[in-house]
Symmetry: C2
């Protein structure tokens, strides 16, 4: 009987479930709204019911290895509890893993969503030909995940991979983490919007001002659209995004010398606008990168995924993520298949 | 018959050799001047003769596992050649490993000296109770070494651990690597001296000016002595040293979440002057550190090595190196014992 697992991506808005077998065949997918506002117990009820329906369906066809759950927030791996999770109020310090294991009678692995996304990209996405990989996820915040030897590198307390809080401007914008000038303050969607507002407030950004005035849902996406149309202030904002990511990448390349670094998350769709600055910073700030950079036009966004080369070529690859929002879902499933 | 290995620390000035057994008993030590000026072949002759004398002596008492050699510079692990080594002119692109293996008829492992030092501290020094460790070596430059799972983490091409080239001031002082504001430009002996000269040139550093004028061998050590005596400008220089190291450490803690980070090299003897700024930066810039910092007065230099705690306590330890200039020698011996 083949083995499969169930991956769960438990976001603040959506709850997604996929049953995936060892050959990475997706047997089934379910998307539910996360009734986060209705409270933790309601979300748990919904999740367990959906997982149970899926498991029942495959009961006689395949053997369930376990359930992997990606959640936003800091997880205590030892206890299987969330230490902090702004998007899931009421979940902190509740024995999530034990509770779900009890309800479903199967092994449950809880994982930070950025780590799960990195594992997903390693399994089926941009990192599939590599054993060692770092991923930076550019979303509302900036997350990260580190894969060493094919597995998530957790560090001592499961808190490794916080690449969004690497300092890129020592006296820069204050960060929610208590630091200053963290990458998250320059490379997240939130940061793009803040930098746009700062540019508007400075009086020098007429294009951004017009867009913000006419669009009640003015967003990072709108800033990107302006940048692509050639608006100088919008372009400058994405240059700062790329510079911040470039400094983080140079640090990772100098420190870890990995074969591949993957950039994902919603903001990564602005690749065309920010990637030239990434490669500029990387070449300047990392001898290791300069010595191992692939001979591919750095700014050619369409070729970014074609940059992925087989192991042994000794080239440092900077690649866009390939799985979009599915990365965390597949990574969660993979976790259960490989046992953590 | 017990097993032993021979470690070689091949510096630009000294060539040191130690025979060490698996229980870390030092069987023999030899120090020779490196006749670097007389050329590569002379140094190789001297080294091989000294190694052979030692090996002959233990021939019937212990089994030689191999020879580990720590060298300054970038090493191509695959070919066993130096790619670049400013302190050993004429050694680049010469088949060092193959040549020594041929001469001595035993296995030779070549390693970057900062990596060897990290492995030495892991084996017998500050990191001995830990499997995962990063070391920062503050010397003429700033080197680094990363130990994961008890072994040197080389990365794809053996260039990992270049912590001295992590950006700490994005628009800061130009670095020999081609970057700007690398940690090396603020935390090396060279940087201390440069910052002292800058302070003197600014006209605001009368204490430093006096010391520099009266001492023909004015050095980083002299700046440290002034700082300890309370000279404000000298203190400020070491505050900048600590800030740079603190930013690098915050990056490593946020990214890797290791249990221990070891600070070594000649400049680390100025610990009292720069360590308060390290802990200040770390607490501010790393949630991970703040969540795992040991309850020890951060600035208490005398307790720094007592901060080392056993595995499982889930505390992030920042410790001074314990082996001084022997770290690389022991690390080189260890390399041969553990087979790379």
């Amino acid at each position: 009987m083949p083995t499969y697992s169930i991956g769960v991506d438990l976001g603040g808005t959506n709850l997604r479930i996929a049953a995936v077998d060892e050959q990475a065949q997706v047997l089934e997918r379910v998307t539910l709204g996360t009734q986060a506002a209705l409270g933790r117990d309601r979300v748990l009820d919904d999740m367990c019911a959906a997982v149970r329906r899926t498991a029942d369906k495959y009961q006689n066809k395949a053997s369930l290895a376990g359930i992997g759950i990606g959640v936003p927030g800091i997880i205590d791996l030892r206890t299987g509890m969330l230490r902090e999770s702004p998007n899931l109020p009421g979940w902190a310090d509740y024995p999530v893993r034990v509770e779900i294991e009890k309800r479903l009678g199967t092994r449950v692995i809880l994982e930070n969503d950025a780590n799960a996304a990195a594992l997903g990209e390693k399994w089926l996405g941009a990192g599939r030909d590599f054993d060692d990989m770092a991923m930076i996820t550019l979303g509302t915040g900036v997350g990260g995940g580190l894969i060493l030897g094919g597995r998530i590198w957790h560090g001592m307390t499961g808190m490794a991979g916080e690449f969004g809080h690497i300092t890129v401007e020592p006296d820069g914008h204050p960060c929610g983490c208590g630091g200053r000038g963290c990458a998250e303050q320059y490379a997240s969607a939130t940061a793009v919007l803040r930098m746009a507002r700062e540019a508007i407030a400075s009086g020098r950004a007429s294009g951004l001002l017009r867009a913000a005035s006419s669009d009640p849902e003015f967003s990072a996406k709108a800033v990107y659209n302006l940048a692509i149309q050639g608006d100088q202030e919008a372009k400058e904002i994405f240059r700062r995004v790329g510079r911040a990511i470039g400094i983080v990448l140079a640090t990772l390349v100098n420190g870890l010398n990995l074969p591949i670094y993957v950039i994902g998350g919603g903001v990564s769709s602005a690749w065309e606008a920010f990637s030239p600055a990434i490669f500029e910073e990387l070449r300047q700030r990392s001898m290791v990168y300069a010595a191992t950079a692939p001979p591919v036009p750095a700014a050619d966004a369409r070729r970014a995924s074609a940059q992925v080369q087989p192991l042994g070529s000794s080239k440092t690859i900077i690649a866009r993520a390939m799985l979009g929002t599915d990365a965390g879902l597949y990574g969660a499933a993979r976790l259960a298949l490989q046992g953590g």
